[in-house]
């Protein structure tokens, strides 16, 4: 966990006071909505269909148990008893009252939580691998650098009025769990031949209306130069990014239109003017950040304790362990993913009771630490393997032990038209129906790893472009219809999915997904050929034929 210093705490508290005054002036009529809108957005407050929505930042997806308890308190005290974890590792509250928002922010500030950089045309919450610091084989903890970027970009005047929003993601593992290739800037932590830390820098990735996979702009930027190099990128973007057309304002459009070589040249010229400046990070600055992260003191525990051997005879435990438990850098420990995808539930939603329960379990079993993944699940990053059976039983009581992580019912979905003012179609009921169709976990296991991502509009908060199966809701002649893509992925081999054919009606979506899955099961070369591999081997056509043959 990162411990805020006095400067951080002062900044957050001042922000609450400032917003309290702004809300007061808005409610009195002193500020018009036009004047107030940007101020509320800078504090994570959107207006949705039924109410204000309050988006709270969870930098790089790391939470303490006390912070999670406070989020539960906000859900209970100011909202309707639940929150929604998002694809940017944040949490949203859907029913909050403007008049009560300053109090909610003040309560969050007491535990070092805020809503800065969760909205607006600025640098957004920096995301990272939810297994950062504990994944086996990780080069080093990417959250050190995430935190550096967070501190550097927060309220930075030059980055507060960009042409459009701007998103960073960082990973330090070979397997990319942070989806860095679909971010404005993606950073892959590396070591050079001298063993020094640096980054492969990707730029111009993104989803939304015009999706692009990010391109490598520089294969290695030394860690000392990270801030100056990303600032050079942001300066070029600030100068040339389109402000006249919101649909062309993201950096991905600029990179695409200029071409990566020309864009890189512009960045290089900018960088050489500022490279050796106050932005150069010396080792002491990095170590100062590193020193404010606390790490657990692990015990030397057996990799296969008796408790685990005994529990392995329980098929229900084994089904859960197989999907939810991942190796940890310490052999006696494990990383446990907590599915927020119950059959028939809304993906990413957690009740206040569940949040409190997870906080208590984090204290008992995970050194008080919780992680949020962009797949809209939670994780306990430091669980002793001997405690896994007890943890599983406890999670089951809270409805958090659904054994479906990475399976077909582990669906990513945006809030869709049930909540969102931008949406054209519903997402959650589609996800719920699909989970009911594949509720049998044996069937889901037989299908194997398969990610379904659903967005209720072209803005792609549900990351549909990079779902193994992607579902995009659109409106046509007053009716919700859904475009289906297959073959997308968000990992180190990121690809955009391909459309399989004409959009299908709302009542037909789950049937179409069943058809695609049946086609896959019939077409796969062997039982362990994953859906993605079958699609890659055969292309879209056999799936198209299956889906549209009788429609």
């Amino acid at each position: 966990m990162y411990a805020y210093d006095e400067l951080d705490r002062t900044l957050i508290n001042e922000r609450v006071s400032e917003f309290r005054d702004q809300v007061k002036r808005r409610l009195s009529g002193e500020l018009t909505e036009d004047e107030f809108k940007m101020l509320r957005l800078q504090n994570g407050v959107y207006l949705q269909l039924h109410a204000y929505m309050f988006r709270v930042a969870i930098p790089y997806g790391t939470l303490s148990s006390n912070q999670l308890r406070r989020l539960a308190h906000v859900a209970r005290r100011y909202d309707r008893g639940y929150g929604h974890f998002t694809t940017r590792q944040n949490i949203q509250f859907n029913w909050i009252k403007l008049a009560e928002l300053p109090d909610a922010l003040a309560d969050l500030a007491e535990v070092g939580i805020h809503a800065m950089q969760t909205s607006g045309n600025n640098t957004r919450n920096v995301t990272s691998d939810q297994w950062a610091g504990v994944a086996p084989g990780e080069i080093e903890d990417p959250r050190i650098w995430s935190e550096l970027l967070r501190q550097y970009t927060t309220l930075h005047p030059e980055f507060s009025f960009l042409p459009r929003k701007f998103k960073f993601a960082i990973t330090a593992s070979d397997h990319d769990r942070a989806a860095i290739k679909v971010h404005d800037i993606g950073l892959r932590l590396l070591k050079n031949a001298e063993g020094e830390t640096g980054f492969e820098v990707l730029v111009g990735g993104g989803l939304g209306r015009t999706p692009f996979i990010g391109k490598t702009i520089k294969p290695f930027v030394h860690g000392h130069d990270l801030l100056s190099y990303v600032e050079a990128i942001l300066r070029v973007y600030n100068q040339y990014g389109r402000r006249d057309n919101i649909y062309k304002a993201r950096i991905k459009i600029l990179v695409h239109e200029l071409g990566i070589e020309k864009f890189a040249k512009e960045v290089e010229e900018e960088w050489h003017q500022m490279r050796d400046s106050a932005l150069t990070l010396d080792d002491a600055a990095v170590e100062e950040i590193r020193s404010r992260f606390s790490y657990p003191v692990y015990e030397n525990l057996p990799a296969m304790p008796d408790e685990l051997k005994k529990a392995a005879h329980d098929p229900d435990f084994e089904a859960w362990r197989k999907n939810s438990v991942a190796p940890h850098k310490e052999p006696g420990y494990a990383i446990v993913t907590l599915s927020l995808k119950p059959i028939g539930g809304a993906p990413g939603d957690a009740t206040a009771e569940q949040m409190d329960g997870v906080a208590d379990l984090a204290d008992k079993y995970s050194f008080g630490e919780v992680r949020v993944g962009h797949e809209q699940n939670l994780a306990l990053p430091h669980v002793a393997k001997r405690d896994l059976p007890a943890l599983w039983r406890a999670l089951d009581k809270f409805g958090l032990a659904t054994p479906n992580v990475n399976l077909i019912t582990d669906i990513i979905a945006c809030p869709g038209l049930d909540y969102c003012s931008l949406a054209n179609a519903r997402s959650i009921p589609i996800a719920q129906e699909i989970t009911r169709r594949f509720a049998n976990h044996d069937t889901a296991n037989l299908i194997g790893r398969l990610h379904i991502n659903i967005s209720g509009c072209i803005n792609a908060c549900g990351h549909h472009h990079v779902g193994h199966i992607g579902i995009l809701g659109v409106e046509k002649n007053g009716e919700e219809v859904y475009q289906i893509t297959i073959g997308g992925r968000a990992d180190e081999n990121a690809e955009l999915g391909s459309l399989i054919g004409p959009a299908v009606r709302y009542p037909d979506v789950a049937d179409v997904i069943e058809d695609i899955v049946e086609a896959y099961l019939a077409l796969r070369a062997r039982p362990d050929e994953l859906f993605m591999d079958t699609v890659k081997r055969l292309g879209v056509e056999p799936f198209r034929e299956r889906v549209y043959a009788t429609r």
Partner: protein, 89 residues
């Protein structure tokens, strides 16, 4: 009709024929021409303190004169989400 969200809590509200706002769809002023709609919208937008984001929305007039939302978005705004909330009540 013209609908908006209430400023202090964001709740869905409808412009009435008495130049006020109501949380009940049944109270909404119904206009039938674009001129009437523009006038109702202009009057609604003028209340920047009480409401935000006012816009003209379609309605469906049932046989008995009852008003129903004119599209799915307005149906959801009027009746609430189409799913069960994680916490009852």
């Amino acid at each position: 009709m013209v609908t908006a969200n209430r400023t202090w809590d964001g709740a869905v509200i409808y412009r009435t024929s008495q130049q006020s706002w109501s949380a009940r769809l049944a109270d909404a002023a119904i206009v039938r021409t674009s001129d009437e709609a523009r006038a109702l919208l202009a009057e609604s937008v003028a209340d920047d303190v009480g409401a935000i984001g006012a816009y003209i929305a379609p309605i469906e007039l049932k046989d008995g004169g009852e008003i129903a939302p004119g599209n799915l978005r307005e149906h959801i705004r009027s009746e609430g989400v189409t799913i069960d909330l994680p916490v009852a009540g």
